[in-house]
Symmetry: C2
C-alpha cells in the first residue's frame, strides 16, 4: 500500500532490483491482479509475502452482517495461505452506527476470533490483531492499545492469534514497551510495521502516515523493543499518504528503502 | 470557548438567563475585555468562574524559552486568582522541533511544576494537568493519558497539582475509569469537562469536538466515574468546532445547555 501507484508486477520487479526480500500485500490489488497470478509472480521472483492486509471488521451486531464478516475473513485466510504468508493482519472495526459501547464491540471481536482462530490454524495462518491509534476508535478499530489487543489475543493460542506492532499507532504510549515484552514472551508479535508520525493530520486522518525519518518517532528505539522481546521476523514499512501516492512510485519505493536503512537499521 | 462568537458580556447575560451557574474562561478573550472588568462583570452577575484555560507549554528545551513559559504561567495564575477561580487548566506542550524524546519532554513538565506549584498555592490556585488525546502528542501535549498525568501530578501536593478529566481525550481508554478512581482517591480531579467524539476529524484535528449527544461517548457513564471517585465540582462543556462557531452563539449556548441536561444529567 506504501506504493499503491505501482502495479503488482512493477512492485515485484522493483523489490528484486532494490534487494527488498519480502512484501506485505493488500487484498484489493491482489484480487485485481489475480490471486494465483500474484502468488506465482512473487514466488518466481524469490520474494516472500510477509503479511496479507487485512481481515477484521468484527464489530457488527446484526447476525447477517456478522456472518458476512466471518465469511469474508475465511476468504482472507484462504488468500493468505495461497500467497504463502503465515500472517493475516486484522483491523478489528469501529463502533456500529449509534452505539457507544466500546466494551461490547471488543467482546464481539473475541467472539469472531473463537470461530476464525481454528480455521486459520488449519490453513497455517496466524491472525494479528492490530491496535490502531485511538483517533480511529469510533470509526475503524475499537482496539486502541497493545494491552487491549493482547487482552483479546491471549484468550487464544499464540499460533492462532497475536498482534501487529505498528510504530504509528503506539508511539505515544509509554506503556507500549512493556506490552511489547508481554507480547514477545508468549510469541505473539506476528508482525512489526513502521511509519512515522507527522502533523498536521489531514482531514479524516487516515492518509497522514509519514515517511520514515520525517516525523516524531525514533524507529531504532522501537526496533530495539521488539527485538529485545525476541522478534526476529520481517520489518514492514506501511505508509498511507496522499502526498507520497502522488509521486512516482519507483522513486518513492527507492526512497522508502533508503530511509528504512538510514533510520531503522544503521 | 464553546461559544467564542459571543462577547464576554453576552456570555454572562446568556448564562444568567439560562440558569448556567458558572463559566470556564479562556485567557485571550478575558485579556481582550479586560481582566478586572471581566472579574467584576462575572462576580456582579452572581456567576462563578469554574476554571481558567490555559497555562502550560512547558516542554521547550531552550533556557530563555523555558523562562518565558514560566513567566507566562505565573501571569496565568495571577489572572486565575483575580477571576476568583481556584483552577488553572494546563496544556503541557508538544515535542520541541526535531525532538523525538517524549520521556524528556514529560520530565520538563514536572520540572516546571516544581517551580509553579508553590506559586500557585500562594495564590489559592490549583494546577490541572490535562491529558490530551494521543493524536495531539507531538504538537500540543505529550501527556496523553490520565495515568501519565497522574504520574506527574502525584509528585506534588494535590492542592498544587491535579488533573483535568475531559471525556473527549480519554473516552477510548479502558484504563481511564481506574485512573479516575486513582485521581479521586488523592483529591486530584480538579475539573471535569465534556465534549463528544465525532468523525470525520477535520484537517489538523483541533476543531473537531462534537456537541454533546452527537457522538460516540456515553456522558452519563463518565459522569458516574468521576462522581464515584468523589468529584462534586462543576461539569464544564468545552467544544471547539468550526461548524458550531459559524452558528448564532446565543442559540448554540441554549442548545448546549439543553444537550447537557439531556445527555449528562437526566
Amino acid at each position: 500500500m506504501t506504493v499503491k501507484q505501482l502495479s503488482i508486477p512493477e512492485l515485484v520487479a522493483d523489490c528484486v532490483e532494490l534487494g527488498i526480500p519480502g512484501i506485505g500485500l493488500w487484498r484489493d490489488p491482489v484480487q485485481q491482479y489475480g490471486l494465483d497470478a500474484t502468488a506465482k509472480l512473487v514466488r518466481d521472483a524469490g520474494l516472500t509475502v510477509t503479511t496479507l492486509c487485512r481481515g477484521g471488521f468484527f464489530t457488527a451486531i446484526e447476525p447477517a452482517e456478522r456472518a458476512a464478516a466471518l465469511d469474508d475473513n475465511r476468504r482472507a485466510i484462504d488468500e493468505a495461505a495461497t500467497l504463502g504468508t503465515d500472517t493475516l493482519v486484522l483491523v478489528s472495526g469501529g463502533l456500529p452506527a449509534g452505539s457507544k459501547d466500546l466494551h461490547g464491540a471488543r467482546e464481539r471481536i473475541a467472539d469472531a476470533l473463537s470461530e476464525l482462530g481454528p480455521y486459520a490454524e488449519q490453513h497455517g495462518v496466524r491472525l494479528a490483531i492490530e491496535p490502531l491509534h485511538p483517533m480511529f476508535a469510533s470509526d475503524r478499530c475499537v482496539v486502541s492499545t497493545l494491552a487491549q489487543a493482547l487482552d483479546i489475543a491471549e484468550r487464544f493460542p499464540a499460533h492462532q492469534v497475536g498482534v501487529t506492532v505498528d510504530t504509528y499507532h503506539i508511539w505515544w504510549d509509554d506503556t507500549a514497551p512493556a506490552q511489547i515484552a508481554r507480547a514477545g514472551a508468549s510469541g505473539r508479535i506476528h508482525t512489526f510495521q513502521l511509519a512515522d508520525w507527522i502533523t498536521p493530520l489531514p482531514e479524516g486522518v487516515l492518509n497522514g502516515r509519514g515517511q520514515i525519518g520525517d516525523g516524531a518517532i525514533d524507529m531504532r528505539e522501537w526496533r530495539r523493543y521488539v527485538e529485545d522481546a525476541g522478534y526476529t521476523g520481517p520489518i514492514e514499512v506501511e505508509l498511507f499518504n496522499d502526498d507520497l501516492w502522488a509521486r512516482d512510485g519507483h522513486e518513492l519505493l527507492k526512497e522508502t528503502a533508503d530511509r528504512f536503512v538510514e533510520h531503522a537499521i544503521r
